[in-house]
Assembly symmetry: D3
Homo-oligomer: 233 residues x 6
C-alpha cells in the first residue's frame, strides 16, 4: 500500500503486526524518448503492486539518484554519492525509529548500486534490522523474461517502454539500435557519453508489443513479492 | 508541465526559449487523518497547475523534508538538515547545468524553511541565477483566502484537506479542535509534541466544504503562477 | 552573568542548583554606518542584562553567522550553513555535557534563523533538554515597541543604533531612507544586494533619540528575561 | 614501477612522455587462514607486474577499504563509505594535479565497488581525464581461468591462496567447503555473517597446486596490462 | 583596530591601501581560578594592541576552539576538529573575498594548533594569499620573557593571570603547584585529565607581580606587531 | 608483528591476552632523491621492529597523509585534513571494535601532526581506550641521536636516507645544503615551496655513513618499543 494512501494511525496499526516496508529508489534522468521519470515510476509501481496483497507499506520513490554520466542530457538531476548516502542513512534511521525492521530497497536505476553497499554499513550499525537491496529489472527471473523476449535490451530501450513510461504524442523510431560498447562508454565524461549515445538508448528496439511487456511486468511483480515474503535474515 | 511527462529532448527544446523551472519541496509526515504525503502532493500539484499555461517544467517533488519533531508519529521520515542542504545543492547545481537560471522552490512544508536560507547561499555562488523560495500556503493572497474562510486553520486541519489529500474510507472528526499553544509546542521533544497534539491536527476543523477549498486553491494557483511570471532579479 | 566573568568552579556550583544558560548568536556583517559587530554586541548584551538578576550564565556571542547576501560589503564574514549547523551541534553538545538542560539561543541576526530549525533536530536527539530560539529584536513586545516608535525600521537603521553600536567620529545621514523592496532584494545575488542597498540600511532614519532607544531596550531586556523564567517544556 | 621505488624527479620525467598511473585498492580484512592483507597484496602486485614493462607508475595500495560485514572478525578495519569517497577524491585530485590523466583503479576487494561509481562522478568534474575501475580477479579472462580450474571458488578460498598471501606455519584444511548461500549472507548483520561463515572462507578448497595458481596469475597480469594499454576514452 | 569599531565603508577604504588583517583564535575552557575566556581575551587583546599603530583590522576572536580533554570541567565548550576546519575555511574565504591577502591567525590556545596545518591546505587553494599562524604566548621572544621570569609556567598558571583575565572576588592559592607530567596527561580521557589536574592549573604559581606581567605583555605585543610588519611570502 | 603476516584467528588469540596495537602513519610525498614512500616505509618499519619482541600487531601503514605544501612536486598525494580525520576515526573505531584499547599512532611525517590532536577528541568519546601519538623521528632520544651525529638534519636530508629508503641507481649530491628558512617557507604556497626548496631537501648532507644511520635506527626502535611497554593511562 502506498504511504500516500495511508495516515500515521494506519501505519501505527500495521506496525503492531508486521515490520516490513519498501523504499523505492528512482532517478530523474534521460531515457531517450521515454519519460525522464522512468526509474521512479517503475520502482514505485513494481513495489506497490508486489506489496498490495501483503499489505506492506511502500514509501514514495526517492525521485533523484546517482547519474553523473548523463549530466549533459538536459533535465537530468544527479545527486553526489555523499549526498545519497546521507539520504539513505536518514530514511533508514526514520523508518527504523517508526518500528520497521525488514526493509526492501526496491531500486529502479543501475547507477544507484552504492545504495546496496551502504545498506551493509547501515546494518552493521543496526544489528536487529535487515535491509535487502533489490534491482527489480535485473533480478534473475525478470532478467530471464527480458532475455527470452529479445536479447538486445538496455537502458531506455523497449525494456523500459511500458504504457506508464511512454509519453503521449511522442513516437519512437522503429529501428533496432545496435548495442553501445559499454566498456568504452564507462570511460567517457558526460560529453563523451552523450556523443556515444545520441538519443540516449543504449541499444535495441525502442518499443515492443504491450502483451510482451505485461508478461515481463507480471514476472517482476511476482519476483519482488517473493522477496518481501522472505526469507529474511 | 511535469518532468515525468517530458523527455530530455523536450527539455532541451524548452531551454532554447526559456530558463525557468520549479522544484517542489514536500515531506512525508503525519497529517492527522490525512495522507502522510500531503505536503508532497500539494506542493507538486499547485506548481504543476500554476506552470501549465506557461509551459514551465515542474520537477518531481522531493518527497522527504525536515520534520524531526514528528518523529514519534509512525510513517514520518525526517532528513537531517545537513542532508537537506546537500540535496538542494545537488538539485540546484543539476538544473543549473541543464541551463535553468530562474528557479522556483515551491515549498509545501513549514519545516523546510532552511531551504530558503540555503537558496541565498547558493545564489552567492551562482551570481547569474535567481532562486525564489515560495511557501505556497502562506503566501499573502492564499493566506488571506484561508483567513477569510476560517481563522482557526493549521497543520493537518481543514486547510490541508483537499479532495486529493484526504483518504478513502477515513472519516475525520466533525469538531473544531482548539488551537495548540505553538510557542510551548516548539519547546517539546518528539514525545512531548505527540502528547500535546494527539491526532496531529494543530487546531481547527478537520474538513470544510469543497467549494471553499477549491476557491482557496485557485487563489494559490494564481499566486504561484504570478511568481513564475516575475519579476525576477 | 557573562561566562568571561566566571571560572569553571563557579559554573559547577551554579549547576548544582540550576540548569539554564544562554548562547548568544551574532554576526559580523555590514550595518551601514554602524559597527560591523552590531548583531554580536546586541545579542550578547541583551542576554547579559536579562540574565543578570537570575544569575544565569551567558556564553560569549558566536561572532559569526549566516550572511551570504552581504558578501560584497567588505568586512563581512559569512559561514556556510553546513558549518553553522556543526557549530551549533558542538556548542549544544558541550553545554549539555556540562549539565545544562534549558538553553536559550538569543539570536541577533535574521539570517541565523536556521539555528531555530536545527534546535528542533537537536532536541529530538536529546529528549531531556529544551532549547528555545529567540530573535530578541522581533519578539512580540520588543517589535511592538519599535513599531510604536517609528514604523519605518529595518536592518542597519535607527532601530539598531544604540550608544553601544554606533561608532565614534562617524556621522550618519539625517534623512529617512525609503524602505527597500524586500521581496525583490531576496532574489538578488550579492552584487545586486549591494546595488539595491547602497549604504546598507534597508530603510528608515539612521538614528533616533536615545531616550526612545533606551525605552525599547528595556522592553527587550524584560522580554528576554521572561523567556528565561519560563515556562520551559 | 612502484612509486616507492621512484623519487619525484623521476615522476616528473615520466610525465613528460606519458600520463597513465595505477592506484591499487586493497582492504585489511579476514581471509580465513590467509593473510589479513590479501586484497592489498594482490591488487598492488598484479598492478606492479602489469605495469612493469610499460613503465607506468603504481602508487602504494590503499590498505583499507569497505568491509562492514566482516567487523566481527578481529583485525578487520572498515572505512565508512563517506570516508572512502573523500579519500578517492583526494587521491584522484592529487594525481591529476601531478599531471596524470589516465588512471587505473586496480581493485582487489569486492566491497570496494562504490569506488567505480565514484569514478564516474569524478570524471564528470574532470572532463579531460579518464578513470578505469578494474576488479582484477573478476575481469573476464581471469575469471574464466578461475572457473576452468575449479568452479567452487570464492572469498578466502584457494583462489586467493598464492605463495605471497599464505602464511608461514599455518596449515589450511584440506576439505572442500560447501558454498555459502550468498543471498542469505547479504541479509546478515556482522554477527550473522560470522556465524554463517565460520572460518571466513565462502566456499571451496583452501588451497590448490601452485602451478595452477601461477597460471591464473599470469592471465590476470596480462589482462590488467591490456587495460593499461588501452583503448582509453 | 577592532572590527567592532569599524563599519564596512572604513574597511573598504582600508583595502584600497593595505591587505592585512588579524583573526584571533580563542577558546572557552577551564583556566583554574581565572576566567573561562582567558584565551579569547588574550588573543584578541594582544592582536588589537599590536595592530593599533599599523591600522590593521582585527576581527572578533573566535570564542570557541578545540579542547576535548577539558570536557569534564563545566563551562568548557569544545568544537569538533571537523567543525573547526569548516569555520576556518569560511572565515578565510570571507576575508579573502573582501580583499585581504595577508592574514595573521593570532592563536591563544595550544589545542587550536590544527588551525596552523589547515592554513597550509587553504594556501594551496589560494596561491595569491599568505596566512601566518602565530601562537602569541609561545613565540620565541615572549616565551623567553616568560622563562626569564619563572621557569615553572603553564596553562592556567600565573603566566595567564593578567589584570584582564583574573576575576573580581576570586582569590587564587599562593602556593607553587608542582608541574603535571604532561606526557602522562596526554594519554588520559577527560575524567583522567580532571583527576590529574585538580583545579586546572598545569603547574606553577597562580599569580605574580603585575609589573612582571606587563613586561611580558609588552614583549608579546611587540613580537606580534613585528610579524604583522613582515616579511610575508 | 605485521598484520599482513597474521590471519584473523591469530589476532583473536592475541586479544585474549593483550590489547595493544600500532597504526603507522605514512605519506607519499617528495623526499628529494629518496623514495616517495620514505615516511610510510620508516613508520611501518620502526613500528614492526619495536613491536616484534612484544608480539604486538602492527597494521599496514596508511600510505597517504597531509602534505598540501608539496603539491607541486609530482608524485605527491595529499589528503584533505577533513578526509584524514575521517580515516583516523574509522581506523580507531575498527580496532576498538576488534578489542584493542591501547593504540600507538606511529607517525612518520611532520605534516600529520593533526592526528595527535584528533586522538584527544577520539579518546574523549572512548574513555576506556588510550591513544598515544608518537613522532618516531623527533622523540627525545632519537632526536638527540640525530643531533649528536650532525646538527644540520631535516626533511629529505641524510637523516631520512637509510638503506631501505634510498633508491638503486640514484646518486645524491655530496654537498651539505644550507638550511632553508623554515619560517619563510611556511608562508609560501606550493609554487613558492618548490621554488625555495629546489630538489626538496630542507638542508644538510644528502647521505651519511650507514653505521651512523643504523645507530640512530636502533635508538629509534628502542624508544618506540619503550612507549609500547608503557606506562599507558
Amino acid at each position: 500500500m502506498r504511504i500516500g494512501e495511508m495516515n500515521w494511525m494506519q501505519v501505527e496499526s500495521y506496525l503492531q503486526v508486521d515490520d516490513r516496508c519498501v523504499l523505492p529508489l528512482g532517478s530523474t534522468e534521460q531515457h531517450a524518448y521515454l519519460s525522464l521519470s522512468v526509474d521512479s515510476i517503475l520502482s514505485e509501481r513494481v513495489a506497490a503492486e508486489a506489496a498490495e496483497p501483503l499489505g506492506v507499506p511502500v514509501f514514495p520513490a526517492l525521485s533523484y539518484g546517482l547519474t553523473p554520466y548523463f549530466k549533459d542530457f538536459p533535465g537530468t538531476i544527479s545527486l553526489r554519492m555523499e549526498t545519497y548516502l546521507h539520504i539513505l542513512q536518514d530514511m533508514l534511521d526514520s523508518v527504523y525509529r517508526s518500528g520497521f525492521r525488514r526493509i526492501l530497497l526496491c531500486n529502479g536505476h543501475g547507477g544507484n548500486a552504492p545504495a546496496g553497499a551502504f545498506a551493509m554499513e547501515w546494518m552493521a550499525d543496526h544489528p536487529d534490522a535487515s535491509v535487502r537491496f533489490h534491482n527489480w529489472w535485473s533480478a534473475p527471473k525478470t532478467w530471464a523474461a527480458v532475455q527470452v523476449t529479445d536479447k538486445v535490451a538496455s537502458h531506455a530501450s523497449w525494456m523500459e517502454n511500458f504504457p506508464w513510461t511512454r509519453l503521449a504524442h511522442v513516437t519512437a523510431p522503429e529501428v533496432q539500435k545496435p548495442m553501445t560498447d559499454l566498456e568504452l562508454l564507462r570511460l567517457q565524461n558526460p560529453a563523451g557519453v552523450r556523443r556515444m549515445l545520441g538519443d540516449g538508448n543504449y541499444g535495441g528496439f525502442y518499443q515492443r508489443d504491450d502483451a510482451e511487456m505485461l508478461a515481463i511486468w507480471s514476472v517482476a511483480v511476482a519476483e519482488t513479492r517473493a522477496l518481501l515474503e522472505g526469507p529474511w535474515a
